[in-house]
């Protein structure tokens, strides 16, 4: 077969993304038609910047999901095919069978793997970690930031001091300290996971209890059901092989294997924990500032006069009124988390070396950068476009939420 020229590569790459285009077109058609009924999300489709951002973000979300279903990828991202080392984009596959895709669309990397498939698979690595990690960071930040801002005083001083402590740490140093194999062996990340992941449960418990404590008949079954489920997920999240902590010196039993819903690979858990840990102090500061501002409003005073409890006021009066800035920051923070994940990959920390995530791929590609551009350039541009999309989306949301 002949090598492809630039135009043919472009056409074929675009064609490979067909499922993504269809999904994007459906989402956009549906959203534009019903945009008046969908609140802030619908208003996003009034701002061109927001729409571009949303399109970029959804492109990578769909790419990640479809790649996981093996739709877009042309080759196995880990397979090394001899003779394809560092080949330029559009090189035909040597010795391709009838069922193989005939070309390396974006060339091969220094281990003769397909750059295009790795780039597409890398999207899933980001999509599966970044939003959830950001959500956890928000849970931690909100659960601690609301009381700090609302009560103030000693609690605020203490929590702010702790937050500033983490913020004064250079992020890369923290990663190097947390993610090295020696530290992972001591179980420090597992302890941190056990502490950090309990915050969503506390958040849920307080949220439901403060709302329904006046209706004990509804509250009890609701709390037992929701918290039981949350606790089960929590235990499955942090326990592996029936153990919470598994180090040579200490072993703490956790959930029995039969009840364990899913296992998070050790490397991913460590990465997840460190990203949540780095992000939550900033969220804490934002929530604390918002709570301090909003607690002086009239509707908070009205709730206090009605005799509502402090947690009701924090979670059902202050938090809903702080949602605008928090949603905007959520988008920005997913972008920042994506950058952090890339940084971890770039320094080869945490994720397994053959992992197709963009940071690791950039790190591998940069070694031969002055001769072969394509292995590093493809993931670099992907990461850039995803983070850019998130920033534009946040900008659009900010603009639209300021209008009311």
């Amino acid at each position: 077969m002949e090598p492809l020229n630039t135009f043919e590569i472009l056409i074929r790459v675009l064609y490979q993304f067909t499922p993504v285009w269809i999904a994007l077109a459906l989402v956009f058609a549906f959203s534009v038609v019903f945009k008046r009924r969908m609140g802030l999300y619908g208003k996003l489709f009034d701002s061109p910047i927001g729409m571009i951002g949303f399109a970029l973000v959804m492109f990578w979300v769909f790419t990640g999901i479809f790649a996981q279903m093996d739709l877009i990828v042309t080759h196995d991202p880990l397979a090394q095919i001899s003779g394809m080392k560092n080949k330029v984009p559009g090189t035909p596959l040597r010795g391709a069978g009838p069922e193989d895709y005939g070309w390396y669309l974006l060339g091969g990397d220094n281990l003769a793997r397909d750059v295009f498939s790795r780039m597409v698979k890398g999207a899933w690595e980001v999509i599966k970690i970044a939003p959830v990690a950001t959500l956890f960071a928000f849970m931690v930040g909100i659960t601690l930031g609301l009381p700090a801002g609302y009560y103030g005083g000693k609690l605020d001083t203490l929590l702010s001091f702790l937050a500033n402590l983490i913020l004064a740490f250079p992020v890369i140093l923290l990663f190097y300290l947390l993610v090295t194999p020696e530290i992972v062996n001591t179980g420090v990340p597992n302890y941190m996971a056990a502490v950090l992941f309990i915050f969503p449960i506390i958040f849920l418990a307080v949220l439901l209890n403060s709302r329904y404590h006046t209706r004990p008949r509804l509250r009890l079954p609701l709390l037992v059901g929701v918290l039981g489920l949350a606790f089960w997920i929590y235990l499955s999240l942090i326990s592996e092989n029936g153990l919470l902590i598994d180090t040579p010196s200490t072993r703490i039993p956790g959930l029995p294997k039969t009840l364990d819903l899913f296992d998070i690979p050790g490397g991913i858990l460590v990465v997840f924990v460190s990203v949540v840990f780095v992000n939550s102090p900033t969220v804490f500061r934002i929530v604390r500032g918002l709570a301090m501002d909003i607690k002086t409003r009239d509707y908070v005073a009205a709730a206090q006069t009605r005799g509502e409890g402090p947690w009701y006021i924090m979670l059902w009066e202050i938090l809903p009124n702080a949602r605008g800035p928090l949603i905007v920051d959520f988008c920005l923070r997913i972008g920042y988390t994506t950058i952090l994940l890339g940084t971890l990959g770039f320094f080869g920390l945490g994720l397994p070396p053959e992992s197709p995530d963009w940071g690791s791929t950039i790190n591998e590609g940069r070694k031969l950068l002055s001769i072969y551009l394509h292995p590093a350039l493809a993931p670099a541009l992907s990461l850039l476009s995803l983070v850019l999309g998130l920033n534009l989306l946040a900008d659009g949301l900010r603009e639209e939420s300021l209008k009311d």
């Binding site: 740490f169 890369i172 770039f346 950068l369 850039l384």
Partner: protein, 350 residues
């Protein structure tokens, strides 16, 4: 004001103590020490041999005591061996008389930073030279970043909603979305690669350590500056648009003052208060950028040292690196607070 600075300094020292203890704790966990013993001794050591090596070299005591020794707040350890007395403050095995005359305290407070196991050199000399190199990099980054960010921000915020504003705002969003390892890779690919043909700059900055030239130093500087620039520019723009809608600017316009005079003489000073704090608070981020860029361009400065120390389990060096970076971050925070009060006459701390 004096009390304010004093209290801030107190909190700062407490923060520094906590942070260095955390770093000390994490770097001195048993697996790290075991690895150290095996790399210094030999790799086939048994567990008992590791334990006795650690004890002989002063890694045996409780964590808090060792932290005190390292800090210089507790007397350094001594052991009696058949060759004489060894200790933290002693150089090799010495006789009892020499040991008696040696100083009892030797930690970082006394200026004794220990010895690097990777570079086989005193940590203080390594940190000194590396910081100098990174200082050079940072200086040029600031020279490039601050003026261009302020100019971009002021130009964009001068007429809100104009095409100039849209263009410059998009530019700053793009730069904040481009982490150093992405922009660095793109720059190297476009400007240094032999495949594209634009060989304007050099892909490594190793030669820039001795004599920096535009050719070998511009790309690393640009890479760091670009990521920080977008954020400062957006802050400047926000603060500029706010100032431009203020009453006194409208008054000046109604009086018929020329537009460039309004911007330069009336708006600029007030618009630059907020970005000043932002610039100072960018330092922790710049530190990250420095680590990435120095690794990417192989410029052997402070960030590169951090990566080497952390990657090779060089405990003393890593501790020193973290002390320096934590102090840099805290001092810039303090300066930003004081500077904000000083620049903004509306805030008074009594």
């Amino acid at each position: 004001m004096g009390l304010f600075i004093l209290r801030r300094a107190g909190v700062m020292i407490l923060t520094a103590l906590c942070l260095t203890f955390i770093v000390f704790f994490l770097t001195n966990l048993y697996p790290n020490l075991e690895k150290l013993a095996k790399t210094q001794g030999n790799f086939r050591m048994s567990d008992e041999a590791v334990a006795s090596w650690l004890d002989r070299n002063g890694y045996g005591g409780p964590m808090l005591l060792r932290y005190g020794e390292w800090l210089g707040a507790a007397p350094g350890w001594t052991r009696e061996t058949e060759d004489g007395i060894t200790g933290r403050c002693l150089d090799g095995a010495v006789s009892a008389e020499t040991a008696a005359t040696a100083p009892r305290f030797c930690g970082i407070l006394q200026g004794d930073w220990g010895r690097s196991t990777v570079f086989k050199e005193d940590v203080s000399t390594i940190i000194g030279t590396r910081l100098g190199l990174t200082g050079k990099l940072m200086f040029w980054v600031l020279v490039l970043m601050v003026p261009s960010a302020l100019i971009v921000g002021v130009l964009a915020g001068m007429r809100e909603g104009s095409w100039l504003d849209r263009g410059l705002s998009t530019f700053s969003i793009v730069t904040t979305a481009t982490p150093e390892y992405v922009s660095g890779v793109i720059f190297i690919a476009v400007f240094t690669s032999s495949t594209v043909g634009l060989k304007w700059f050099k892909g490594t900055a190793t030669s820039a350590m001795k004599d920096a030239s535009f050719e070998n130093f511009f790309l690393p500087v640009l890479t760091i500056a670009l990521y920080g620039m977008g954020y400062i520019a957006r802050m400047t723009r926000a603060s500029m648009t706010e100032v431009m809608t203020a009453q006194y600017i409208r008054t000046a316009r109604l009086k018929g003052v020329a537009f460039h005079n309004i911007v330069l003489k009336h708006a600029l000073r007030n618009a630059l208060i907020a970005p000043f704090t932002v610039i100072m608070l960018q330092f922790p981020w710049l530190l990250n950028g420095v680590v990435i860029v120095e690794t990417l361009f192989n410029y052997k400065g402070f960030g590169w040292t951090l990566v080497q120390a952390a990657g090779n389990n060089d405990i003393e060096l890593l501790l020193a690196v973290s002390v320096v970076s934590v102090v840099v971050v805290l001092v810039t925070q303090l300066i930003s607070d004081i500077g904000y009060v000083y620049l903004n006459p509306r805030i008074r701390i009594s």
